[in-house]
């Protein structure tokens, strides 16, 4: 299972890439493998103010719908409409082309609750 070292993670199987005050969010390789074929993605609206733990997107496979939570407080600044048009991108490239939304955040301290790659690997093994 691919768990990139440079990313941060949540116990809900999301990954978070931090660049400045922007957090890019997607689902992990483990999550896409568990879900299998992603056939539908529901994205949040750009501009939406979100609190950590809010359910703001949905990723669905043939058998199950899986909610995607905001990993930190912030505002949605960008969404990946490519995965809306072709949800299978999430299976093929969960950490790159399969990103789901980007949040702008103010409080660096929010990041402290996120898992590092080692902690996340422990969680899924």
């Amino acid at each position: 299972m691919n768990v990139p070292e440079k990313l941060r993670y949540t116990s809900d199987h999301e990954w978070v890439r931090i660049e400045g005050n922007i957090a890019t969010v997607g689902i992990t390789d483990h999550a896409q493998e568990e879900l299998s074929d992603v056939v539908f993605v529901e994205l949040p609206s750009v501009g939406l103010a979100v609190g950590s733990g809010d359910s703001i997107a949905v990723v669905e496979s043939v058998k199950a719908a899986s909610e995607i939570y905001a990993p930190i407080n912030g505002e949605v600044v960008e969404i990946n409409t490519e995965v809306e048009n072709d949800p299978s991108i999430i299976n093929g490239s969960p950490y790159e082309e399969g990103w789901i939304f980007k949040l702008r955040f103010d409080e660096k301290s929010d990041l402290e609750d996120l898992l590092d790659a080692g902690n996340y690997e422990d969680l899924i093994h």
Binding site: S36, D37, V39, F40, E42, V58, E60, V62, K63, A65
Partner: protein, 361 residues
């Protein structure tokens, strides 16, 4: 989770192949080996093999076997010659469905019934309670392994597996032995594709399943089985069929012969027919690509009034849109009726369509 679930004789193969397992009707069953969409496609375009060892097999023999079964089942057994089979229903007194099953006439006075896993005990108890005449009636479900091989290439798979032997004709059954072990092969299935169901002694099940895989069938799980059957509008008992619904309401009158003489539930069906059906199980197709629609989703009329719920629902891999079944009042059951399916507060536009959803070619 698997603590209380029963394991099929094919389990060792599922484990080797890394199948994702789920509980289904009390059994630990593979839901998928890899991708449900690819397994679906394998069956539509090539061949796929499913473990169906969870299903039940009853054997009925004796001079009164035919007349007894014909009084318990809806289809007309007198139409079956030796080696032929058909789809039929076991009903309660009110004409409600206890189970839907396949009945095969192996020989003049010897029959095989293939019943749903979740209904084995109930079917057996019901039939035993209504036993009449000189019949021997046995539930052999525990001793039998089963697999279904389905898809346009399944005849090739069978030929390779069996050294050139050919399949029985559509809906037929072949009863023979291989190295002293009884094999029953039925030319039927639950996917809308050509194919067969293959029953052997449980100890030989894993061998035959491996043989089908090495002869060209892809292993397929319950996930693909559900999308394939729903594209064909084949009902799932417990979801689309129930003791409160008759086969007439389910749109399956073709498998009910009201003219054949008395049978369990007939009076109720005749009354229902003469009064006119109030509701019918219809096929509902979403008008645009969107989220999968799932069992239990609210069905609304075009004004937004809640009228029913889906009994089955999924995203059709072949069509790329949501499809489902629901019992709708007669006035809304006509092909072309506009509906909406509620998914997380959004209303997905849909309409009643002709069955099945999927047609070959």
């Amino acid at each position: 989770m698997s603590g209380e679930l029963k394991e099929t004789p094919l389990r060792e193969v599922h484990v080797e192949l890394g199948a994702k397992m789920v509980g289904f009707s009390g059994w630990d069953m593979p839901i998928r080996y890899g991708s449900i969409l690819q397994e679906h496609k394998a069956v539509r375009e090539g061949a796929g093999a499913f473990d169906i060892s969870h299903m039940g097999q009853f054997f009925v023999e004796g001079p009164d076997a035919a007349s007894w079964l014909n009084k318990l089942l809806t289809n007309n057994l007198d139409k079956l010659g030796e080696g032929e089979g058909h789809y039929t229903f076991l009903l309660n007194e009110h004409g409600g469905v206890i189970d839907d099953l396949l009945l095969y006439r192996i020989r003049e006075n010897s029959f095989l019934l293939v019943v749903n896993a979740s209904k084995i005990a109930e079917d057996y108890a019901w039939m035993k309670a209504h036993r009449k005449g000189e019949v021997e009636f046995k539930d052999c479900s525990e001793e039998v392994a089963g697999m279904a091989v389905q898809g346009p290439r399944s005849t090739d798979v069978y030929s390779r597996m069996m050294g050139g032997r050919t399949l029985p004709p559509r809906n037929g059954v072949d009863d023979f032995e291989v190295e002293g072990q009884r094999i029953l092969v039925c030319r039927t299935g639950y996917t809308g594709e050509d194919g067969f169901e293959f029953f052997s002694a449980s100890g030989g099940g894993a061998h035959w399943f491996r043989s089908a895989l090495s002869d060209g069938a892809a292993p397929c799980g319950l996930g693909a089985r559900d999308t394939l059957r729903l594209e064909m509008c084949y009902p799932l008992n417990g979801s689309d069929l129930s003791p409160e619904r008759s086969p007439l309401e389910a749109g399956l009158a073709f498998f009910v012969d009201l003219e054949k003489g008395e049978f369990m539930g007939r009076g109720a069906l005749v009354a229902q027919k003469s009064q006119g059906l109030k509701e019918r199980l219809v096929a509902i197709r979403c008008l645009e690509a969107g989220p999968p629609i799932r069992p239990g989703a609210v069905v609304q009329d075009r004004e937004g009034n809640e009228i029913s719920r889906l009994t089955s629902g999924t995203l059709s891999p072949s069509l790329g849109v949501g499809i489902g079944l629901s019992y709708l009042p007669k006035a809304l059951a006509k092909v072309g009726t506009e509906l909406r399916i509620e998914v997380r507060g959004r209303n997905i536009p849909a309409e009643v369509v002709k069955k099945p959803f999927y047609k070959k070619g």
